[in-house]
């Protein structure tokens, strides 16, 4: 099981990293310091590790790092920072949708994927879009509310 040099472009920055074949993208990202990508269940149930892989929201725990060789990856921290938050991040914070915060990076990624494809989603479509993201604080109502606010503020 020899390591191989692969290229990952993460939040616009290109990394070359030698990895063994059994390393998932989740672990590769966290080991490179992208710890906003959370390790929850490691079986694709919780969505805490969601990232955009070439623009598509996926569970990074279910992708082998070698499968992402050459791909563009965006994490929640790549969308915005504390100083310059993305409107989704701002809305979730303002709505009170962030409780313990563990699920939020994944929720942000799922919400971004939704709004990129469908700038005017219904509440049902919002719920559908985050159905792969578990919030163990069960704060879904305010999370949905937060995402809804972004759409409303854009439409004003």
């Amino acid at each position: 099981m020899q390591p191989k040099l692969i290229t990952l472009t993460i939040n616009g920055r290109t990394h070359q990293v030698a990895l063994k074949p059994n390393v998932t993208l989740l672990h590769a990202l966290r080991d490179l310091g992208y710890t906003d990508v959370k390790n929850g269940c490691e079986k694709g149930d919780c969505g805490a590790c969601a990232v955009l892989l070439n623009g598509r929201a996926v569970n990074s725990c279910l992708v082998l790092a070698w499968q992402a060789d050459g791909a563009e990856i965006t994490t929640a921290a790549g969308l915005g920072t504390v100083d310059h938050p993305h409107p989704i991040q701002e809305a979730l914070a303002d709505s009170g949708g962030v409780q313990c915060g563990f699920c939020i990076p994944g929720i942000v990624v799922s919400a971004k994927a939704l709004l990129d494809r469908n700038p005017n989603p219904t509440e049902e479509e919002i719920r559908e879009a985050i159905s792969g993201n578990l919030c163990r604080c069960t704060g879904y109502a305010l999370i949905v509310e937060g995402i809804r606010r972004i759409i409303e503020s854009k439409n004003q």
């Binding site: 998932t24 694709g44 969601a50 598509r56 725990c61 279910l62 082998l64 070698w66 559908e128 792969g132």
Partner: protein
Amino acid sequence: MLPEFELLMPRTLAEALEMLAERAPDGMPIAGGTNVIPDLRGGRYRPACLVNVAGLPELGGIRQEDGILVIGGGVTVAEVLDDPLVARYAPVLREAARTLASPLVRNRATVAGNLANASPAADMAPPLLVLDAEVELASREGTRRVPLKDFFLGVRRTVRQPHELITAIRIPLPPAHSRARFFKVALRKANAIAVVNSAVRVDWEYGLGSREYGLGGREYGWGGGLCRAARIALGAVAPTPIRAWEAERALEGQSLMPEVIAQAARLAAEATRTIDDIRGSAAYRRHVTEVLVRRALEGLWSRE
């Protein structure tokens, strides 16, 4: 941490088939990984070698050729949801795709992988069974096609040999007067494995049951048209996804009056070989089967 394995990264289908042939029976294809990776972690299997088939150019795309809707072996469930050909010719497959796991999983999971994994609860199986789909299996030696109804052998067992890869799923375009629906019951509305899933399809005698003639649909009850052919497929109620043959026969040549539908639903429940498990009891599954088949038959004229 995942167990150790060798990972082969072919660039073409021919290379992949060569690798699978050389490594059989210890090589295993991996595409979206949404089943394979949790199963590796859980120890369900421990292949010495994985062959990555995600992104192989020959396996992409959904196309229509000679009366067949061809879904490439690498097509994801999300791609099925977005595809206009599927929406037009196989809306029942789209209906099922919308209930499979979550958007995060659907962006990786392939239709072929859902079949190859051979879970009794596979959501892609019932719609593809009622659509008379065929599975195209390729190996270094050549290509063969297997009707989906003959593909599953048991829980997580199929006729696919270790050196074979699903390269396409082939769906004959249904006739114009064909309608199909998919219904699923799970413990949650989303991101949940089916307790029971079911697809039904009815091909009507030309015209008689159609909206255009004003005889079908809710307004006139279910007796407007004659059922020429019926298909009922059930998941999570037997070791493999199954067809309910007796129930189908009870519909054929009939007007779908409430008592005909009720009888077919009862026969469908009798076709099950349910078990108790964490998601539901055998008795509950039988009961839900009857209800789902009845609702699906009643729902043939409503929008998905």
